[in-house]
Each structure stands twice: as C-alpha cells, then as structure tokens.
C-alpha cells in the first residue's frame, strides 16, 4: 500500500512564551519558520509570498526617491507607539520630505538572543498596521540574530522608495531669503514621552509620542500650489524636513547651512504643549532641541505661504500648524529667535547630547 508522504511536522512558533534563539538567524528551518509565520504573514503581500531575497517592483512615473533609517529606541514600547510603527513612519517621512509618495519599504531586523517572540509579534504587527495605513508595502527584508548582551532587544533598519513628480525639487538647499517658515504642530512630544518613561526619571506626564506618517499631510500641502510649482520653480514649497533627533533647532540650523541663509523665528509662535514645557523646565532642557516623529517644517515662497498654511490646518496632522518665522539673508547662517521676553538670541546647533543642568 502506498501511503501518502506526510509533510514533516513543524511545531508552530510559540508566540506566547517563546524567545529568539541563535537558530532563528542560522539560515535553517527555524529561520524560515520565523520569517514565514511572523514577518511574511503580518506584512502579507505578493512579493514576500514569492520567498525571494529581493523584490521586483514596478514604480509609477516620476523620479525615484530613496531613503534609509535605522531605529534604536529604549523603551521599545512607549505611549503613542513602538519601535515597529516608528520604523515605518521614520522612513516614510524621509521619502515624503522630497514631496514624494512613498511606495515600497525594505526592513532589516537585528534581534537579540532571548528577545520574547510575543514582543516581536507586537512590533511586527504594529509595523504591518503602520505600513497598511501609509499605503506602502514592505516587500523585502532581512533578519539577523546577535548573542545576548550584544543588542538592545531589536534594532530595525528600513529603506523606502517613493516617487516624486518630475520637475519638483524640494530640498534643504532651496530655502531663500523671504521664505515663510511653517511648522506643522506641537514640538517635543515624542522626546519628552520617551524621557518620561525612562526608569531614572519616570515623571508621570500626560503625553504621547506624535509618531505618524506625514506623506498625506505633504500631499495636502502640495495641492494648492502644485500648478504654480509646475509653471515656476520659485513658487510653492522649497524645503520640507521632519525635525526628529536634535529637534526643531537642529533642523533649522541644517537648512540654514545647506541653503546659505539665516532665519529669524518667533518664540511666541512655536506651539509647545504645557506638559512638554513643564517637563523641559524641571529637567533644564529646551523644547527646541527635543525630538519629534510626526512633525514637519516647510519653507514656502512668501506669496504661497498662506495657502499652504490653510491646507496644513485642514489636515488632521497639521491642525495646529503655525507660521514661526522668516528666512533672512545672513552671511553667517545664524538662526535667531525673538524671545517672548523681548530680547533676541541665537538658536545654535545642539552640542553633544542635551544634558540636564545642575542648578
């Protein structure tokens, strides 16, 4: 009698109590199982289903924009998000800051031996959700495992590809004297949320990370000026950037340097939540240097600034948008701020890490 050949039994991953071990990075059955049962099933798309080490994709017309971003964060889960959705938003936003529509992502994972599979599942599910919401597909990836003590749970690197309309050049080198500086909302939420969860601080703040994908907001901002930008490169949006690490101050200084301009911003125009202001106050930090993960700064031709600002305020992620200043001609590329108090000061690069003051 010819009995049918039974497929070898594979015990399903124990997503409740299981942990990452070295075999999950070894290239054998365990790794295959992890990829299929955890990653491919969550990200669920035709490219991953093919099981290749790469993805062959078709891009809509336009110029290709590419960006990559590595994500390391403690804690991995925080109010308002986790490393999973953060790793999608971070790269989607980098692509979007070219005015592009993000289309595909690649994801690389470095997992630490002993990391609970349940936590990994939570992270991967969060990535999948964020990618779905952003309408991008995670089409290829990689997994490596490092010994215990040689990683911090999980590191995620994502690379994104998007497409921008031919002729649209939005970049940090394009700020011009007279441009209006627009900010999409409250600053410092992400950074202070993370700080508030750190063990040594643990101040109970009613705060959550602002992590979000910004390409929808970017599209909404482009809508009212798209035609004008097609006809005249000096019109519309010149620069877009998301002020992540180093905060708003760092982003403004980067752009001032790239474009060879100065800036004058108004302290009173910059939206800061009272909780963030209070937490910064008692730690001796400056909200201008605190990280954001769902905000953008736009440099817009003066004549188009009002229309773009109205468009921002009409989008849920730009509800609290404000015009915070103007680009000036300044040979030394200083970013200056008119303080609420009535004086002026330089808003300089962040030095090292922002450290709390003593007294």
């Amino acid at each position: 009698m010819n009995a049918p050949i039974k497929p070898g039994y594979v015990r399903p991953l124990d997503l409740k109590h299981g942990r990452i071990d070295m075999t999950h990075g070894g290239g054998g059955r365990a790794m295959k199982q992890l990829i299929e049962q955890l990653f491919a099933s969550a990200f669920d798309n035709e490219w991953l289903a093919q099981g290749n080490d790469m993805a062959r994709v078709v891009l809509p017309p336009g110029r290709v924009v590419m960006a990559t971003d590595s994500h390391v964060i403690t804690p991995l889960f925080f109010p308002g998000g986790d490393i999973g959705c953060l790793s999608v938003h971070g790269t989607v936003n980098d692509v979007a800051m070219a005015g592009a529509v993000p289309v595909y992502l690649a994801a690389g994972f470095i997992l630490e031996e002993g990391f609970p599979l349940a936590s990994l599942k939570r992270i991967v599910d969060s990535m999948a959700r964020a990618a779905r919401e952003a309408n991008v597909a995670i089409v290829t990836g990689d997994t490596k495992v490092v010994e215990q003590g040689k990683g911090d749970g999980v590191f995620i690197t994502t690379t994104g590809i998007g497409v921008v309309e031919d002729g649209f050049v939005i970049g940090g080198e394009r700020a011009r004297a007279g441009d209006a500086i627009l900010l999409s909302g409250f600053i410092g939420d992400h950074g202070m949320t993370i700080m508030s969860t750190r063990e040594s601080l643990a101040f109970g703040a009613d705060l959550q990370s602002d992590t979000a994908a910004l390409h929808g907001l970017v599209a909404a901002m482009l809508d009212p000026v798209r035609e004008a930008m097609r006809g005249d490169a000096s019109r519309g949006i010149h620069v877009l950037r998301d002020p992540t690490r180093g905060g708003l101050a760092t982003t403004l200084n980067e752009i001032a340097g790239q474009s060879g301009v100065g800036m004058l911003i108004e302290e009173s125009a910059i939206p800061v939540r009272p909780q963030v202001e209070a937490a910064c106050e008692f730690l001796g930090l400056d909200p201008l240097y605190v990280a954001n993960e769902g905000k953008l700064v736009a440099f817009v031709a003066a004549e188009d600034a009002d229309r773009v600002l109205v468009a921002m305020r009409g989008h849920p992620l730009g509800r609290d948008a404000a015009r915070i200043g103007t680009v000036t001609e300044a040979p030394h590329h200083f970013v200056q701020m008119a303080t609420r108090f009535g004086g002026r000061r330089v808003v300089d690069w962040l030095t090292g890490e922002q450290l709390p003051r003593i007294c």
Binding site: L201, F341, R345, V346, P356, R357, C359
Partner: protein
C-alpha cells in the same frame, strides 16, 4: 505655565527696562557681576542685555559648578572609573568636562569605564542598592544647592549599612568665592575690574539665606541683590542695584523673597554640618587655591569618603596655556578676549571649562550671544 510665565512676561520686562533707563545716570557706568551660572544662562537665553541701556555691563561670575572644577579632580574621577573599575555616577553636565590626555568622563566611558549619568544624589545611591556587588562612587559637585542632597544620601547609606557606596566631595562654598574675587588684585588694587555690585545667587541663597552676604556689603561696600533665576527677577535686581549705586548705599537686598529668607533653610544647614566639615583649602579653576572654600566628609562618615576609601590623591594639572577661563571666571576678561574662543575651543571640543556647561560664560556667549558681534543683514 503657571508661576513661570508670570516671571517671563515681556510686557513687564519692557516696563522695568524703561524704569532702569529713566533712573541710570548717563554720566556713569554700572558694572554688576552675576555670580551664578543660572543667571548667566537666563541673561543669554532671554536676551536680557538687549533690554538694558549700554551703560550697564554684566560680568559673568564663577558660579558655575562645572566651570570651577579643576582638571585634577576630573582626572581623579576618570582614574576611579578606569583603574579602580567602580561605577562612577555623576550629573550630566560633568560628563563632558575636558580632563588630561584628551579624556573626559564621556570619553572614558567609550573606553569601557562604567559611568552613569544621574539626575540626583538619590539615584546614585539607588544604583548602589541595585548592584550590591559593584562599588558605586558618586562624584558630587555643586555649590550649597546640591550639598544637602549629598549629605542626605551619605546619612541614608550609613543608616542602611550600605558598604558599596561612597562619595567624592567637590562641594564648594559661594561666600568664599565672592571673597576671593573681592580680594583679587584686579578688583582691590589694580581696579581693572570695577565692580559696582552683585546679583546674588538664587538657589544657593534658599539654603544659606541672605545673611552671609551682609559681610560683603559692610566690609567691601558692595551692594548685593539676591535674585531668582527668571528673567524678570534679573531685570528687577538690576534696577535695585542701580538704585543702591545712585543712592550710595551698599546693602543686601532680597528680590527673591518668594524663596529666600535671611536665615535660609536651617534644616538643610544642620544636615550639611552634620556630614561635612570645611576643607582647609581647595583648588578652583580660575581662582586657584582658595582657603576654606570647600567641604569634605567628616571623620564619622569616613567610610563613605571615596578619597579615603580608594586612597586617592588629587594631582595638580595646569590649564591649557592659551585658555583664558581663569581670567574669565574672575571677570577680568570676556570670552571674546580669548584667542581660542570659537576656533580651537567650541562646545563640541571644549578646551576650557567655561565652554562645557551651558551655564559657563563661554558656552553661553557662544550659543546665544556670539551673533551680537557680527553684523547681520536684515532681510
């Protein structure tokens, strides 16, 4: 923010500024030293000098705990971490202070030293509790403000019988530093630093009270106005100093009445004198050896004195020759007078201690004030 915004009100500031402008005598200059780094920081951050008439000059004083820490003491901390392999816990500002051989605590950490940034002395003691097998040393710095918390953890550690915790005490005393400035030849004999009065410390005075400054007002005929760290406090204190100078008075006045009394915090003072005693002499960066200007741990608590526990000796290290921190800390020079300011010495790569902490005169000028010296074209 309630109780904060009120002290940062631009409208009120313009009112005080107008009053100062009305009351100054146009024929004279007013030179006031703000002793504290907290004031230096506020002055720079809020652009207070923009609101003052040109006759008023503010001189940055030595009241920045990180700035006055001599290289030898930082070297000692680094040796503790690298050679004695202890967990060295200290405040964030301390980590970047440049020491010998191009090292700092942050760079020592990159070489494998165990360095922990803590937000309070209590966090350092917690670290010791959590790691009973490791030796934890708290590198304690600061003026009278941070001294009581250090005293408290030493007493707590003693009460709990914790044996893996000790402290390197670098706590220094404000009145001794003011005396040293007033006794310096530049002020007393040469007159190259004409000082018309002091903006007195805020947080320090909450602990020691206003009484210790009375001596300066009487003996040296210098007005002192104790002021809070908010920008309106500073403006108000300047107005009060101008009035004293105009009236020929030299008194201790208290602008910071919401927090400072004449006697200060007696409980904190008692705690400090229970755990600490005067050091015969202590080296200050910029001021040199200043007699009876710092504290050391009393014999009863010797088990918690890291200098005794690890038989440490502070080696004297000279400052970089080109560095003007010493003169800047005494008010003799301005950061812009230093040859290496903003070129070799920057906040990323500090040579002198004044460039390290955001309270330091050089860092504050670099970060907030530099643009004043460069003509900026308006758009």
């Amino acid at each position: 923010m309630k109780y904060i915004d009120e002290f940062r009100d631009g409208e009120l500031a313009r009112g005080i500024a107008a009053q100062i402008a009305r009351e100054i005598r146009p024929d004279r200059r007013y030179q006031f030293m703000e002793f504290c780094g907290g004031h230096t920081h506020a002055i720079s951050r809020y652009g207070i000098t923009d609101l003052l008439p040109p006759q008023i000059k503010l001189i940055h004083g030595p009241g920045c705990p990180v700035c006055v820490l001599p290289i030898g003491r930082v070297d000692l901390a680094i040796r503790l971490a690298l050679e004695h392999k202890v967990w060295l816990a200290t405040y964030g500002d301390c980590l970047r202070v440049p020491a010998s051989d191009g090292l700092s605590l942050l760079k020592a950490k990159a070489r494998g030293a165990k360095v922990a940034m803590v937000y309070s002395a209590a966090d350092a003691l917690d670290l010791a509790r959590r790691q009973p097998e490791a030796q934890v040393v708290f590198f304690a710095i600061g003026f009278e403000t941070t001294t009581p918390p250090t005293a408290l953890v030493i007493r707590k550690a003693a009460a709990e019988g914790i044996t893996n915790f000790s402290v390197v005490c670098n706590h220094v005393l404000t009145p001794s530093a003011i005396t040293s400035i007033l006794e310096s030849p530049e002020v007393r004999q040469l007159g190259t630093v004409p000082l018309d009065g002091f903006i007195g410390p805020a947080h320090v005075s909450t602990v020691i009270g206003s009484r210790p400054y009375e001596h300066f007002a009487q003996e040296y005929a210098k007005p002192v106005v104790i002021a809070g760290f908010e920008p309106l406090d500073v403006m108000q204190a300047i107005l009060m100093l101008v009035r004293q100078v105009n009236d020929g008075r030299a008194e201790v006045e208290n602008e910071f009445t919401r927090a400072v009394t004449r006697d200060g915090n007696l409980k904190a003072q008692a705690l400090v004198s229970e755990v600490f005693e005067l050091r015969r002499s202590f080296e200050w960066r910029g001021l040199g050896e200043v007699p009876y200007s710092a504290l050391q741990i009393r014999g009863e608590y010797a088990a918690f004195d890291a200098e005794k526990k690890f038989a440490l000796e502070t080696r004297k290290v000279l400052d970089n020759k080109a560095c003007e921190c010493g003169a800047i800390l005494r008010g003799v020079k301005h950061p812009r007078d230093c040859r290496i300011f903003g070129t070799v010495c920057t906040p990323e790569n500090p040579i002198g201690s004044c460039m390290v902490s955001s309270e330091g005169a050089c860092a504050a000028h670099y970060t907030y004030g530099r643009f004043r010296e460069i003509a900026v074209q308006a758009a």
